[in-house]
Structure formats: structure tokens, C-alpha cells
């Protein structure tokens, strides 16, 4: 209910007040309006400038402009830019295009005829003005007014500049290349290798701050005040410079990433565009998915021994398989730590693709899983379970030994169980089918895998699990065995192919 309360408080709640006492909000509350009055008072103290007053008549032109901007505000996704709180907030957080815009309004107010923005453009002003005309104790023109109309608007009034300058502010860094291997033949000590910021990955949807829940919902509520960006301790939220989302927060992982456990943006958001997330639940909010590109990864291009993304991942969702990073789609929360630390230039090789609707993951409690599996294994049952993309198998009488021996790193935890590393999608389904397991804990599956199982009439339990897990269709590609099992259709063929891979 927080967002309702706050959005109402920003202006809708003022309508009844306006109905009683006129444009109180514009005169005494609105920070943008007050700063215009202040400028007028300081720079031109003698001049009686036009104030906000519903008693003053509005010409046809003014009404048209008013209604046009009101329509823009309500209809356009970027309409929030007109909200006076947002305009003022962007100044408070020292966002440069916002300051330019604000300054333009002040200049108009000082050297034009009073509060031009409020009377001509501001959608809130238009609404309040309309309401205030019917107010009980409405606006007063002021003592000593002879109704001379000198203060009335002139017809040649120009529109204030639109959200200008936005195109001019580009933070793309054109620096390219890193002398990554400069120090391969290290003869002398000291000094620095060159570093450069990566470029912004193009054509990739950026995630919204955790708690924004939904792109549409967010676009309705965010007024672009910039508070979240100013307060972000991870330094990854920045005010956007693009025209349609000017001043709204944008995830930029070049200078930081979303800290796990941090809920600062949702704490400070005044309009509840970013909903509250409990610190303990932060790691369960998935804002996007890290996608790795082999063609850019320095493990492929320079054969470097890099494991930056694997080291940095706070949820251990990235594993090195066969020498390359593999992202566990179910564990990745899209925090951007991997993208931030990726040394590939000019673009990072691992990039977070933002979700339009954020998801919640409920991780399997490790203790429960291990304990339950152990009980089953000790009783001679066969089980299949997956956690963080690692599949634990215990098979009765099936010969997977060569494939499974290679993956012994978790077997200490689960004496008696065989362990399969990083199998997802179709190969996982095949293993599942072959294992004929007594219990399935969780399978990381793609839709292919689901269809595969359905076609063979296997595993309704698994299909149900698929529904429980927030899976992503068609993303089985990060499984190291996916390529090998491509085009194969039967369980035996696929499991055989997997066996070959792990043997080599």
C-alpha cells in the first residue's frame, strides 16, 4: 500500500485541499514552484509577476498548451518527466541534464512573466487550476489589485525547451582494448598495465532495480527523482540519459553491481516504484540473467586463465565447465557482478539481460537436500537432485560410471551418491529418465527437456517440478553436454554421448 499512499500524497490527495482552498500545493508545497517564486523575488523584487492563481483567465492558446501537456503526461511513457517533484529531485542529485532543464525553467520565471512553467506546462498545475476555480475559499489575486490585466499573459509566449541536452550527454566510453597480455613476459617490476572501461553492451535489455517488479508498473510510478541512484552503495544505479527515461534509474554495471543484501533503492524510493525488499530476501529476487558469449571471452580469445565472473558471483551461479563459464539459469539473480568484473574489452563477455518481470527464486535449503538424499541413498534408493545446477545422482544398476567418476567434487558430501556436474536441459532429462529415480528433488530443465519427458510418458513428477521452478524456455544452451546431445532423440543415445564427453 506504500505506493498508493505516496502517489496519492504527491498530488491526487491535494485535489480535495485545492477544492477547499485553491492552489495551495502550487503556492506553498511544490518545490519547483517555490524555487521559481524565489528567483523572481530575488532577481526582480519590484516587478509584480504572474503567480499561480485560478482567478486569472486563461486564453485559448494557454488552455490548448495546458491540455496538450496534461495529455502527454498521462499518455506518454516519458510523461513523468513533467512531474515537478521529479524535476526538482534531478537537481538535488546533481544530474546534469536535469539541472540544465531546471535552470531553463528558472530563467523563464525570472525574465519571462512569472511562473510560466506552472501556468503553461505543469500537468499538476492544470489539474489544480481547473479544480481551484470551484474552490470554497479559493485563490485571491492579491490586495490592491486594480484588475488592470497588465500581468496577463502575452500571446507570443514561447514553449519552454523540451528535455534538451539529453542527446548530448553520452557516457559511452570509446576507449578500446586492454593490454591484457602485456605482462606475459615479465622482466621488470612495478608499474601498471593499461585499463579501460568497457563499452555499454548494445541491444541488451537492462535490468530494473530489484523490487521494481514489472517494467510497466515501474514506468507508471517512477518520477525519475534520482534518489535511488544517488544513494546506491553498489554504484550501479545511475540516472538514465536516454530521452524516454531521462533521470530514471538505470543499471550500469561498468562501475559497480547490485550488492547482495542491499535494499537501499527500495528504502529511499518515495513513490514506491521500487517496492520494499527485505534484506534477507534480496538474493531471491531475480532481476535478470547473465548471458555469456564465447566469442568475447578472453578464455577463448586469449586463452587466459581468467575466472573473474566465477570468483565474483555472490550466488555461485557460474561454474567453469570444460574451461569455460557456464551460468546456472536458476541460481543467477542478475546482480551484474560478473559483468562488472569481466575483463573482456571493448565489451564484457558476460552481460546481464534484464527481465521485464522480475522473479522470485526460492533456493533449496542445502542442509535439507543433503540430509534427505543421504537417507534415500542409505536405504538403497536411487535419486536425482539438482542444486545450483549440479545434479546428484544415485543409480541402481545403471552403468554411468565413466561419466560420473569425473565429477567427484561433491561426492564427499553424499557418500554413496554419484555426482554429475552441470547437466541441464535435455541431457538432464535423459539422465532422469535413465535413472528411474525414486525421488526427484529438482531438475533444471528447458522446455525441450520437458517435451522430451512428456513424449516418453516419463516423469509427471518432473513436469510438475518444472512448473514450480522459474525456468527459462529454450535456454538449455549453457549445458556442456547440450552440443553433444544435439539431434539425438533416445535416452540411451544421449546418456552415451554424455559419457563420452566426461571421459575426455
Amino acid at each position: 500500500m506504500k505506493w498508493l499512499a505516496v502517489v496519492w500524497a504527491t498530488w491526487i490527495a491535494w485535489i480535495p485541499v485545492t477544492f477547499l482552498f485553491g492552489r495551495v500545493f502550487c503556492r506553498y508545497v511544490c518545490p519547483l514552484g517555490l524555487s521559481q517564486s524565489l528567483v523572481g523575488l530575488v532577481l526582480r523584487p519590484r516587478k509584480r509577476v504572474r503567480r499561480v492563481c485560478s482567478r486569472l483567465p486563461r486564453g485559448k492558446a494557454q488552455r490548448c498548451v495546458n491540455l496538450a501537456f496534461l495529455a502527454l503526461y498521462l499518455a506518454l511513457p516519458a510523461g513523468y518527466l513533467l512531474h515537478p517533484w521529479g524535476i526538482f529531485g534531478r537537481v538535488l542529485v546533481l544530474f546534469v541534464p536535469g539541472i540544465v532543464f531546471f535552470a531553463a525553467i528558472l530563467v523563464l520565471a525570472a525574465f519571462g512573466n512569472g511562473r510560466i512553467w506552472c501556468n503553461w506546462v505543469c500537468p499538476l498545475g492544470t489539474v489544480f487550476d481547473a479544480v481551484a476555480r470551484y474552490a470554497w475559499r479559493g485563490d485571491k489575486i492579491g490586495r490592491g489589485c486594480a484588475n488592470c490585466r497588465k500581468c496577463f499573459p502575452k500571446p507570443e509566449e514561447k514553449d519552454p525547451p523540451a528535455a534538451g541536452n539529453a542527446d548530448g550527454v553520452t557516457r559511452r566510453d570509446t576507449l578500446k582494448g586492454v593490454a591484457l597480455l602485456a605482462a606475459a613476459d615479465k622482466i621488470a617490476d612495478g608499474g601498471f598495465a593499461e585499463v579501460s572501461l568497457p563499452g555499454i553492451p548494445s541491444g541488451v535489455p537492462r535490468p530494473l532495480p530489484p523490487g521494481a517488479i514489472d517494467a510497466k508498473r515501474f514506468s507508471y510510478l517512477c518520477v525519475g527523482c534520482g534518489l535511488c541512484a544517488a544513494k546506491c552503495p553498489g554504484e550501479c544505479l545511475r540516472p538514465s540519459a536516454s530521452l524516454l527515461s531521462l533521470g530514471r534509474p538505470e543499471m550500469d554495471f561498468r562501475r559497480g553491481y547490485c550488492l547482495s543484501g542491499c535494499t537501499k533503492c527500495s528504502d529511499v524510493c518515495p513513490t514506491a516504484a521500487i517496492l520494499g525488499v527485505a534484506p534477507g530476501e534480496k538474493r531471491t529476487v531475480r532481476i535478470g540473467l547473465a548471458v555469456w558469449k564465447k566469442s568475447l571471452c578472453i578464455r577463448a580469445t586469449e586463452e587466459a586463465e581468467c575466472s573473474a565472473c566465477v570468483r565474483k558471483c555472490p550466488v555461485k551461479a557460474i561454474h567453469l565447465v570444460g574451461g569455460f563459464p557456464v551460468v546456472d539459469e536458476n541460481a543467477c539473480i542478475g546482480c551484474g557482478a560478473c559483468e562488472h568484473v569481466c575483463p573482456a574489452r571493448p565489451e564484457p563477455a558476460i552481460v546481464v539481460e534484464g527481465f521485464s518481470t522480475q522473479r522470485i527464486v526460492k533456493p533449496i535449503g542445502e542442509g535439507d537436500l543433503v540430509a534427505e538424499m543421504r537417507t534415500l541413498v542409505e536405504n538403497g534408493k536411487s535419486v536425482v537432485a539438482a542444486k545450483d545446477g549440479v545434479i546428484f545422482l544415485q543409480l541402481s544398476g545403471h552403468g554411468f560410471a565413466p561419466a560420473l567418476e569425473a565429477c567427484g567434487s561433491h561426492s564427499r558430501e553424499l557418500a554413496g551418491a554419484t555426482v554429475m556436474d552441470r547437466v541441464v536441459g535435455l541431457p538432464a532429462a535423459a539422465l532422469y529418465a535413465k535413472a528411474n529415480a525414486a525421488k526427484v528433488f529438482a531438475l533444471v530443465m528447458s522446455r525441450d527437456a520437458e517435451a522430451f519427458l512428456r513424449a516418453r510418458g516419463i516423469g509427471t513428477g518432473a513436469v510438475e517440478l518444472v512448473r514450480q521452478i522459474a525456468h527459462r524456455g529454450g535456454r538449455g544452451g549453457s549445458c556442456p553436454f547440450a552440443e553433444r546431445s544435439e539431434g539425438l532423440s533416445t535416452v540411451d543415445e544421449i546418456t552415451k554421448a554424455i559419457g563420452k564427453v566426461t571421459e575426455t
Binding site: A182, A183, G190
Partner: protein, 414 residues
């Protein structure tokens, strides 16, 4: 200036000038900690002035290496010594066979390195030539660098020809390499040996890292064989000289006028088989203070030695990372400022200068101003690890510090 004798009967000042931390024109030093590492050029004029000042005050031992200060140290020092106007016999030049890179292992590369040392130092002979950090990278690396390629035999030949006056080695890392050299002393006749010695490493080097040997053991072995000892890291890269609440707590009450650096230098000078003590003096103040300490050196009394031992234990209890900012790990291929990051951790532990999380982050950012050089950008490639003479697991430490920083950020946001 207290003076000791070298193997070939030359008078050597007990204080030696280490040219590993030369000043740079941007006000830091080339292997610095205060400003972090630097790519700025070395301040030749300042070095010129310092060298003259030291020669005038009786310091005559100058230690360098082809690897120091991005490979600039020998040239800058050579220029300064040549310009000082003092005759060549009046000072001792020590430089090293720093053939760390596999590309430098061949005997041809070693010859080239020696020839370039002579050229850079503007001389036709080297007083003290060292096999550089013989335990680095394990015993097999030692064999490749000096034994199988015949470099050690070649050095002995050079000594016979008097192009090298004294042959020695500096030791860090694998104890096997040290033991091998000691066992073969009758064959190679080491004229001197350079070891890491200070009041912490005297009895506790093994505690700091299991691969180390205590300085007392090393010193004892060398003294037994009559090999003069050159001390390096008497101040642990400044960690025993800069403010440190644990050390100040132990040592200041004994003598409020003495600086921590004086204590550490006096400790090393108290041992008679120590020929010279190398100090990387970057700024004029360091030089003046150290010359005062050595003119003449007062040996530590027994109760003072006990106090130093107490200070060593207090120092160890801080659990700092044993990084001395030698910059052997640099340049990191990914551009990280490794010494500055490790020093940040050490400052936090030993100076207590940042009481709140917000101040810790401020300190971190001020010590490593460029964000791409901070700990999170470590890729774990591990290329720095074999270079570290202190055998620090650098990627693990960086990951640890990075997690620490994230905690600070969260705490500061609350």
C-alpha cells in the same frame, strides 16, 4: 657512519641505499605505497641529490637490480653515481641476475642482462653481484635459472676475471634453494648473502608463512660459514617504520624520542656478521633520519631486544598480510594495483585510521583512486603468485578484501 668489512677487505657502510623505491616525479615512489604504484618517470634530479648527500655522509653501498622500478633503477642510479664526482673505488655497487622470466633463463640472456647492467651503471665491474631471490618459484626454477644453464659457473668465471668482485645470492621462498647453496659453499665460495632480516622475521618468519625460514636460522648458518650478511627488508617495506598502534604501544614507552624505524634498524645492526643494512629510502627525510641512526649505530641491549620481541609478537597478532610493497607482482596484466590493495588491508589493521565503514571505503578509494584497479577486478589468473617473494596467495587475499569492501558498503548504507 658505522662501517663493516666486506669479504674482499673493503670498508662498507652499515647503512646501504636500496634503489628499489626510487622517487618519481609525481611525488610518489616507483614501487610506492603512499600513492600506490606509479607509471610516472623516476625523479633523476632528486636521486642525484640523494646519492651525493649519502656519499658525503659515508653511505657507500648501493643496491639495485635490472628488474627494479620498471627496469629503470640501474640506469638512474648509474647516472647519479657517475654525476656525483666521487671516484668509482669509493663506493660499492650491488646488482643482480634478475632472470625471473622464462625468456631470460638462457645463458645468452643472462650475459646480455649483465652487459646491460654494466652499461646502465656506467662501470666496467660490479662489486657485489647476486643471484636474485633464489627460492622464488621453487627449487626447479632455481635450477633452471642458475644451474642447468651454467649461469652460476659463468658468474664464478666473471669473479675470477674480477669483473665481479664478490658473488652472492639473495634468498626468498623455497628453503631447498638456500640449503643447496649453503651445502655447496665450499665449491662456490659465497662472498656474501642477502637475507630478509628484522625483529619480526628473526624468530617468527615461519609463523608468517610456513615456507619461510626464520632469520635467526639463516643468520646462524651464514655466520657459521663466515659469510657476511646483507640485510634486506629491515623495515618490512616500511611496515615496521610507519605508525602502527601495536608497535607504538610496545616501543614508544621505552623511548619516546626514538622512531619505530630506528628501533628496527638498530636491531639489525646489533649483529656483528651483518655487513650492511639496505633501506629503500625514497625521500630526503628518510635518508637524514637513517644516517643519524647509523652515526654511530647503538647496538640494542638485552632488555631492548626483549622489548623488540614483545613488539614482534604484538605485530604478528595484527594478522597483517606480509606484503612489503616490493611490486614484484606488478604489473598485474589486468591493471590491478595489488600492493595498494594489500596495503589498504594492512593499514586498516595496523593504523586504526578508519573507525567507520564509510571512512574505510573513503580510505580504500583514496588509496586506489581508479576503480578498475581495485580488488574486485582480480580474475584469479594467478600470474602474480610465483613472483611474490613472500609467497602470498594474492588472488585469495584480493577476494577476501573485496568481500570485506562489499560488507563495508552495505554497512555504510545503513
Amino acid at each position: 657512519m658505522t662501517v663493516r668489512m666486506s669479504s674482499d677487505g673493503k670498508k662498507v657502510s652499515l647503512l646501504g641505499y636500496g634503489a628499489m623505491r626510487l622517487p618519481t616525479v609525481d611525488g610518489g615512489h616507483a614501487n610506492g605505497w603512499a600513492k600506490g604504484a606509479s607509471n610516472a618517470a623516476i625523479d633523476q634530479k632528486m636521486v642525484d641529490r640523494q646519492v651525493v648527500y649519502m656519499l658525503q655522509n659515508g653511505v657507500n653501498y648501493f643496491d639495485t637490480s635490472p628488474a627494479y622500478c620498471r627496469g629503470e633503477s640501474e640506469r638512474v642510479l648509474g647516472n647519479a653515481l657517475a654525476a656525483s664526482g666521487f671516484p668509482r673505488e669509493s663506493y660499492v655497487i650491488a646488482t643482480k641476475l634478475s632472470n625471473f622470466s622464462p625468456s631470460q633463463h638462457s645463458i645468452e640472456a643472462c650475459r646480455k642482462m649483465f652487459a646491460s647492467s654494466l652499461r646502465n651503471l656506467r662501470t666496467d665491474y660490479i662489486d657485489n653481484y647476486l643471484l636474485h631471490s633464489i627460492g622464488n618459484g621453487g627449487f626447479s626454477t632455481f635450477e633452471k635459472r642458475y644451474i642447468s644453464n651454467g649461469a652460476l659457473e659463468w658468474c664464478c668465471e666473471l669473479r675470477e676475471k674480477r669483473t665481479i668482485r664478490n658473488l652472492g645470492f639473495s634468498f626468498h621462498g623455497d628453503p631447498k634453494a638456500f640449503e643447496w647453496c649453503i651445502a655447496n659453499h665450499s665449491k662456490y665460495k659465497w662472498d656474501f648473502c642477502q637475507i630478509q632480516m628484522n625483529y619480526v622475521d628473526w624468530l617468527h618468519a615461519k609463523e608468517v608463512n610456513d615456507r619461510n625460514l626464520d632469520a635467526k636460522y639463516l643468520y646462524g648458518k651464514l655466520t657459521e660459514l663466515g659469510i657476511p650478511v646483507v640485510v634486506m627488508e629491515p623495515l618490512l617495506g616500511g611496515r615496521l617504520a610507519r605508525y602502527n598502534w601495536a608497535l607504538a604501544n610496545e616501543l614508544k614507552p621505552l623511548d619516546h624520542d626514538a622512531t619505530l624505524a630506528q628501533w628496527a634498524l638498530r636491531f639489525c645492526g646489533s649483529f656483528d656478521n651483518v655487513m650492511t643494512i639496505l633501506s629503500g629510502m625514497t625521500f630526503d627525510e628518510h635518508i637524514k633520519e637513517n644516517i643519524a641512526t647509523f652515526s654511530p649505530l647503538r647496538k640494542c641491549s638485552a632488555p631492548e631486544m626483549e622489548a623488540l620481541e614483545r613488539a614482534a609478537i604484538a605485530f604478528l597478532n595484527l594478522n597483517t598480510i606480509p606484503c612489503n610493497s616490493c611490486n614484484y607482482c606488478m604489473p598485474c596484466p589486468y591493471g590491478l594495483d595489488i600492493p595498494a590493495i594489500l596495503t589498504f588491508r594492512n593499514r586498516m589493521l595496523s593504523e586504526k585510521t578508519a573507525p567507520s565503514a564509510a571512512e574505510a571505503i573513503k580510505l580504500y578509494k583514496s588509496m586506489i583512486p581508479e576503480e578498475l584497479r581495485r580488488a574486485d577486478h582480480c580474475t584469479g589468473c594467478g600470474r602474480c603468485v610465483p613472483h611474490c617473494p613472500q609467497s602470498i596467495d594474492i588472488p585469495a587475499e584480493l577476494a577476501h578484501i573485496d568481500a570485506w569492501i562489499d560488507d563495508f558498503k552495505l554497512e555504510a548504507a545503513k
